[in-house]
């Protein structure tokens, strides 16, 4: 595939069109971010600036959950880093396209990388797609809807002041739960790591550790256990094959 990779305006456009159906799913998520940003005391300009520059829903949501006044600079950066670390292997997985790009086409396209553009582009690659502009198109199309959606959320939130404990605030937990449902790969792979991640985070939270330490501790414990189980399984499989062979 690496031979014929191109980067055309038509490809960018096709990607932007492909992103259209995803807008609907993003709207409630963007609204939640906007409402939450308003509730945490961010101004309209600050909210729009964050969506435009960070452009990562789950990271913004988590950082805003931890938000205090004055802004928790370190906690917000750590939260964004931990949540977005998942995108590091995504860029590498798209190397078949990205390796053929140079300059702004490469580094600019990477700036727009999100879960949805990654997922759609992997599908496009598997269909034999050779136009790397597609990746940028999906990323830009979603960005163009993301920023105004969070802005509208902020405006709605500032019009209707919600009391603490209002059901709408459940939306942020709901967003993470529905993401979890999509990530679930079955009990053998995920059950033990997920339970451990939740329990360690809960224990650290109860022990009074400051944010985002409970989150970090739970995440690392769960991911390490998942990795250990996965590699042990692989080693066992290899040993079985050696015995049979």
């Amino acid at each position: 595939m690496s031979g014929g990779v191109v980067f055309t305006r038509a490809g960018v456009w096709r990607g932007a069109v492909a992103s259209l159906p995803l807008w609907l799913g993003m709207v409630p998520f963007g609204l939640v971010i906007g409402v939450l940003a308003d509730a945490k005391g961010l101004s309209f300009t600050e909210t729009v600036l964050m969506s435009a520059l960070v452009y990562a829903g789950a990271a913004q949501l988590l950082a805003l959950e931890l938000w205090t006044d004055p802004a928790p600079v370190m906690a917000a950066i750590v939260a964004a880093g931990v949540v977005n670390l998942r995108m590091a292997p995504q860029g590498a997985a798209l190397a078949g396209w990205l390796d053929r790009l140079r300059g702004w086409k490469l580094w600019g396209t990477l700036a727009t990388l999100v879960d949805h553009s990654f997922a759609l582009s992997v599908q496009e690659q598997r269909r034999g797609g050779r136009d790397a502009g597609y990746l940028l198109g999906v990323g830009l199309g979603l960005w163009a809807s993301w920023v105004p959606t969070t802005a509208i959320g902020w405006l709605a939130g500032s019009l209707v002041k919600l009391p603490p404990g209002h059901p709408l605030y459940f939306a942020s937990v709901a967003a993470f739960i529905s993401i979890l449902v999509g990530l679930w790969r079955g009990p053998r792979v995920d059950l033990a790591p997920w339970v451990v991640a939740g329990l360690v985070a809960l224990a650290a939270h109860r022990a009074g550790l400051p944010v985002p330490l409970p989150l970090l501790a739970g995440t690392l414990a769960g991911a390490a256990l998942g990795a250990w189980i996965e590699l042990r399984g692989k080693a066992r499989l290899a040993a079985d094959e050696r015995e049979r062979g």
Binding site: G81, A92, H205
Partner: protein, 101 residues
Amino acid sequence: MEIRADVLLAILGMAAVSYACRAGGYAILRSVRPPEFVEAMLRHLPGALFMAYATPPLVAGSVPAWIGAAAVVGVQLATRNLGLAICAGVAAVWGAQAALW
């Protein structure tokens, strides 16, 4: 047009670390293959992260929160639509709170 210095610093920091994940991940993983254990941990990171986030508020939460969580899981499984699942969860919490109090 209010932008406070501390908020701006937090936003720029978040943007920088996010770009480092997007671009730096590609730049590094293209040339250096990380240890197998680190690669496996990266695969397990998202699920563990969101569990670590959602567990404390759910355990501390009331019955409506659990009803809401069940509604989110059910609708997400049935429709695979993030937006619908979030709306269903909020609606379930709203209804449960209204019914219980």
